[in-house]
Subunit: 143 residues, 6 copies
């Protein structure tokens, strides 16, 4: 079995998680928080069904036809991301958001940092997070 | 301008809201709550982007070609449902859920009861609530 | 080959068409038209990608496993509906809308009246028209 | 905890499965099969990502706020439907299709007959099967 | 509150508008227009629900966790794009299309040119326009 | 008619096809095949509704406003891809998969190689293949 020449492909896997959050920066005044974050500042919190797309990049293995073992990717996603974020209140239960506002921007970066060291076989290319169908953020590990 | 014979149509309008919730019945033991509700029992809460479909039923007005004024429907939806539920923690901020578990089933019924008395011109036919794209509940006002 | 007992199923086929329209009732004053129809009253027109769902109802034929010949349904849909409505300006080019406002309500009824006499083998059950993903109208031939 | 009056709701759960099939009736001539089934008659088979929506109907339990235990529904769906159909060649591996053409119509009926005896707590109301996003069949157990 | 190192993210916001158009180049003969544009050449016009995705690129602000103020983006989108295009006949009412054919390609470029000078805080990265779910055009400001 | 400066756009067209396949490498033992491919190794095969997105890149023609003739793209897609893959069993009927495992990765590369030599007017930029809504592969012709 062959794959014609080593070839670079990008594989994307989609999954979902549900979480609650609110936006608040303790270094700002209540008025400033309200102005900046509007109804997202309600400390009771509100929630989203987040959609996560994880893209890895690599050459196709000629023996399997795969860029990476999908079961491995699924295990890493479950262990590093979904177990930590799904059915959680981000501000109270996820360490990254003790000192960061849990915006979609910071969430995409946090998920990149959780996944990147655990994916050995294929390079992480992009993390995309949809807060809802009309808003999403991409992070490519660029600084 | 005419509409051919009075004719009965069903018009459905879709909208979204984001909310947090958790499942807990104070009359049950912690173990029973855990068994019944699993990870949804986490009191910190988690959240969803709910999708709401409201269906009204009526004859088409021959002058306008409408079954009801869409602006009116939108105003009622905003005032009676979205202002009360969007960006809220259902258990803590919505009166219906002080004594009911905020399941999708109870949410559909609560929305029906909020809308039904306010829609005079057209009859409310169905309330459909999606908790996520894979689960939804319909309520037709049947007892 | 058998189908277990004669059984009643409902088959739905989805298709799309693009059309322009505007809302105007010549029997009303300009002010009344503006009040009733808002920005939809702009006589230059605007447009939509309409989605049409046609549902037929019938018993499954044990020889074919079909409720009706899908090619036949497709031909009827193309000839009676899509050829007449797709890439048209509804007010100017579709006879039904010379004397009716081309609302989604009237469009659903017009499509029903075009299809119903042409579908002999299976009974037409429902016509659903989406004006956009957030608004749709159902017509079941009820008067 | 209460649910306001016993109330009837309809809960729908969506899931997917992938399967291969072809259409062929051994009682017909090759020409007749070709005429009736076109490219679906290719005996090598082709495939679909089917989407299944299962709707149950019942009163909301005031203690849990549920119409039925979702985990139970998921278990029944997995055991009775997905294990038998997912990643299968319907004609060769699913008993119902030894003597029936595996059309979407017959598939909806077969799934109903598999589920109906196993759902005790809530009544099965509808089985909907999408062969692709543009074609679906509903079965309500009507004969 | 901190965001870990300045990091570059891409944020995309989706919105919709409805418009009518037709394709016609006055410098070409009627036959040439018909050959080139087919049924899109019908001067009465037809319409679409366009979907617009606007992507901006920038570093996350550590104070807010945002790459830009979403309300500002929304205001710019409404003022520069939606007010001008929504519920309009592109050929007759939008200045860019007096001397250009209003194809999806030219529409994406026109929207880029409207937005680019008004977005100061974050750099415009991409404009994507869907004419319908099966066809879209991306413009990145490349010449 | 003009298009403002020559400008580079990316146009994407989406289409679907249905096919069956299974994963198997004859150079590996049955146990190794089972370990590597799991239930996808079932030789009877299973199937998918694949979604294909083809992106071409080029400058907008000022006369037509098009980056390429959409009818030409559609013809190439039908002749080179859909006729060969739609309603086929990939392992048995598509030459590329006699010596390659028909994974989504290899399928994206195979479609690129079929299309690339036939698109003269515009450069092929990307082939994206969805095996299902949760998994897709991109190929940009990179080696």
């Amino acid at each position: 079995m062959t794959t014609p020449n080593p070839n670079l492909v990008y594989l994307t896997r989609k999954c979902e998680f549900s979480a609650a959050h609110f936006y608040h920066n303790p270094e700002l005044s209540p008025e400033e928080n309200q102005r900046l974050f509007g109804k997202c500042n309600n400390r009771n919190g509100h929630g989203h069904n987040y959609t996560l797309q994880v893209t890895v990049k690599g050459e196709v293995d000629s023996r399997s036809g795969f860029v990476l073992d999908l079961q491995l990717l699924k295990d890493v996603l479950n262990r590093e991301v979904l177990d930590a974020l799904d059915h959680r209140f981000l501000n109270h239960e996820v360490p990254e958001f003790r000192h960061q506002v849990p915006t979609t921007e910071n969430l995409a970066i946090a998920i990149w940092r959780r996944l990147q060291p655990k994916l050995q076989v294929a390079r992480l290319h992009r993390v995309r997070v949809y807060e809802d169908p009309n808003l999403f953020v991409d992070f490519y590990g660029e600084e």
